[in-house]
């Protein structure tokens, strides 16, 4: 196997791994929202 082909295979594994990891964690860099950073809205107890 040529070096370039091997490297691309490795790259494909990395991409598939990243996709699987993102799926497991429910992550996307293009998500509409996520955990609030510091300075975000603060709420007290929202339930009884």
């Amino acid at each position: 196997m040529e070096r370039g082909t091997f490297l691309y295979g490795l790259w494909a594994l990395v991409v598939a791994g990243m996709f699987t990891g993102a799926t497991y964690y429910g992550y996307s860099p293009l998500a509409d929202g996520g955990r609030a950073t510091l300075g975000g809205a603060m709420y007290g107890p929202t339930h009884k």
Binding site: M1, E2, G4, T5, Y8, G9, W11, A12, L13, V15, A16, M18, F19, T20, A22, T23, Y24, Y25, G26, Y27, S28, P29, L30, A31, D32, G33, G34, R35, A36, G40, A41, M42, Y43, G44, P45, T46, H47
Partner: protein, 470 residues
Amino acid sequence: MLAEMASEPGPDTVAAAPPAAAAASTRALSCPACGGAIEVRAAGYTVTIVCRYCSSVIDVANPEARLITKYEEAVQELEIPLGARGTLRGVEWEVIGYLRRSEHGSYGWEEYLLFNPYYGYRWVITNGRGWSFGEMLTRAPDWGVGGPALDGQSYNPFFSNGQAQVDYVLGEFYWRVKVGEEVATDDYVRPGWMLSREANESEISWTLSALLDPAEMEGAFGIIAPRDAWPPLPHQPSPYARPLKAAAKIGAIAALLLIVLAFAFGGSTLLYDNNLPVTFDGQTRTQTLGPITVTRPWQMVAIRADAGNIDNAWVDLDYTLVDRATQETYESYGLAEHYSGSDSDGPWEEGSRDTTAKVAMVPAGTYDLVVEYSGNLWTSSSYSYGGGGYGGDVRISVSQGLVFPSNVIIALVLLLLPLLFLFLRHIRFEKARQGESDVGATGLAGAFSGSDDDDDSGTDFSDMFSTADD
């Protein structure tokens, strides 16, 4: 490339191949011009020989070795000395002749005649950018679609209607070679191979040349052959073609795997839904919905708002998921809107009454969804924040899932980028290779070429990936 035979077959016949007999012997002559001792290495086959001392061309066929002509030009230093021996493709060859040829003084190239008493004659040919190993054919190729075919392999036209002349000659040959003799040439190529046709008024000959790896010439004759010559040789295979094919297969398998995974984990589970009454008065209201329990260790939470039948109005929605246990918050927002009207172009409408916000990486737990929202009216002349009444309900639905569709697209793009890079490099290589062709660019290179451009003209995507070393 090629040489005519001393015999004279009809104009449509293929010239007989040079002798490949197993019984050749050496013979010594004295140059009639300078008296120098000359060794004829392929005695019995050699017709003319050039004196290594005074460059006189001698007719070996004449028992008295009659002097034919004499060149004033001094013997030049050859890259491969005559008499040198080297092993190419498993056979030891001796260099016995040298020709320098050109297209009427332009596009020069050099040909070295090799001899082995058991295998006959071969050629090594160079134009300074690489070396080829040629063998004269004993048969004419078939004629396939658009070009000749040999042993089931088709060849594409590359150079056509050329006129090759001999500019300089040294050594011994199997035909009566002389400076200035011309043949009509046509060359056909496939990756790694060139099929050359040479014709004069009396015969046609074909030569098949294999592109030599620089390491082969270095191993055989100690020649440091150029690597990565630019522009590429006519029959030089694209170094990107094979990796591109292999990578495309890998990429297709990986893409298929991603799509299967996306479908396998692409479903969602509805966790909660409720209605929010909306008044179009521009006032922000807050409503806490829940509880919403998500069970997986991590997930994407999708919050969908459907504003029903609103028109010329919009509803701003700010969401905050609040973990009841830790008070950690996860924020997002949405905008449900719809506008319509009529103008000189007729009726129009735009906007979407439902909107979905996807919140990433929400850990397992029980959450409240705090929604801050406001309803607003719009008129064609101005915004209106008040005066509106009850606008109906906005239905809020919360679901959990795993796969962001955007992740699938990002992964596919990441898989595709190296392929695109290889593809554009391949196209660039092919355009440069075919740039010297008399028939113009064909195939993918032709498809990606502008009208009668060359590799240096204009801008195209393949040039984006050029490097200085090219």
